[in-house]
Symmetry: C2
Subunit: 273 residues, 2 copies
């Protein structure tokens, strides 16, 4: 990577946990367009999974992923072993005061410190000019942007819009966990969020009314009658700093964040208001 | 800095809090010898001072420091404002599990996280090939080496031996706080540590006996009768990982660490066994 930089080439970096889908490919294509070299990492980062979470069962279709990277003209695929990234005496953690404990952080203690730490490591290893992250993991995106600014990493963080299936379901490596009935329910989330956004913008719904409204709507849907589901949280937050928004002040400043369990799968989604 | 690197020049970096003394100059000279470019930073880092500590009174003889840097052929002197390094919405912290809470960390909560964080920032800003740290702040040195390894910073950390006055007193920006009687007492510490080292090597003194031995020796010295003093801790630790050493296994594996209050000044010193 350093040889490329010394030759004056630009390096774009797409960190992933593998199990690539169209969302990742959108990141890779964007990196391909904006840089002369593209590096993709595949690393299922144990530090960002909690004790009861899906670290072990997280999908690892490495050969398929590598083939996709080759097709997408990735110059370098970095797939370190966990023991190399976190040797036995590993002890350094990057924390983001408060932000790591709100929204998804409340339900996944240690998750965002694990994310921030591995991204710091990967940025130092790859030292790219630009790094690409999806808006689907919105709190992660905000936290990484903040870490990069706070710690002065010499890299530009580029956010790429969420890629959705035709149903509106946000692409996620975890969607494969869903059975048919669960998938049908999951597909209803995005249309509901769009209706909620419309009502927030007209003022018919107040931001504080979001969780109640979403829950009562989902309860009425036949697709949600057939499955187990639970809303971890739903909130309208400031698009820059994740703080709770009490009043919508025009378009483009707030964002709906949702984390919803469908069966034993935790899905997240978000939508700019 | 990046322009230098692109031209193939090597960059050596000496981070300091200013109030430069011969110890800093030894770091700068070493950097000067090993690199084509030398960067020095002067930043009294608020994040590494506790509430009751000497952040405000810490000496800031900037013009004198800048003159010394010029004389020492420093290519670039970086002296950022605290508000630039830590804007109001700053929130990222680098922590080193356990190590930040032992030895000096027990007495200075938050200190080593503050050190690790500012060094991470400075390494990203300067992006040097080599960074130079004094052995005098030994726990700091071990922690920074660990952070650099754990977070994969592309930099070589170079340790430089403690510079001492002719009396043996380790050079420190805080020595100017000492009045005459306090300085005379402080000058006795190093000779005592050398005697203790000899006794550790012959086996006459066990590592666990160190604090008791040091306290009883200092009590007997007339220089210590005239001043207020307090031993924060004294310990024999593993030279690589700071763990307590119970038995000396030959030369070069262990280190005596001491933190001693002389009046209202906290001095630290250390000695390879």
């Amino acid at each position: 990577m350093n040889r490329w930089k010394r030759r004056g080439e630009s390096v774009g970096f797409v960190p992933t946990m593998g199990a690539l889908h169209e969302g990742h490919l959108a990141l890779i294509r964007r990196a391909r367009k904006e840089n002369s070299r593209v590096v993709v990492s595949i690393f299922v980062n144990p530090a960002q999974f909690g004790p009861g979470e899906d670290y072990r069962r997280y999908p690892r279709p490495f050969r398929r992923d590598a083939g996709w990277c080759r097709q997408a003209k990735v110059d370098l695929l970095f797939y370190p072993a966990a023991e190399k990234m976190y040797p036995a005496d590993y002890r350094t953690e990057v924390h983001l005061r408060d932000w790591e404990n709100i929204w998804c952080g409340r339900f996944r203690p240690g998750h965002f410190a694990g994310v921030a730490t591995v991204v710091a490591k990967l940025l130092n290893i790859v030292s790219p000019h630009r790094a690409y992250f999806g808006e689907k993991d919105f709190q992660q995106l905000v936290i990484i942007k903040k870490m990069v600014a706070d710690l002065n990493f010499p890299v530009e963080i580029i956010a790429v819009k969420t890629v959705r299936e035709s149903s509106g379901l946000a692409m996620s490596s975890r969607n494969i966990y869903l059975n048919k009935a669960e998938r049908r329910a999951a597909e209803k989330l995005y249309p509901e969020l769009k209706k909620i956004r419309a009502d927030l913008l007209t003022g018919r719904l107040k931001p504080t009314g979001l969780p109640g409204r979403l829950k009562s709507r989902l309860k009425q849907l036949p697709e949600f009658e057939k499955i187990n589901w639970k809303l971890d949280y739903a909130a309208v937050v400031n698009n820059e700093n994740l703080s709770t928004v009490k009043k919508i002040a025009g378009r483009g400043n707030a964002r709906i964040l949702v984390a919803l369990w469908i069966g034993s799968t935790r899905l997240i989604d978000n939508l700019l208001v």
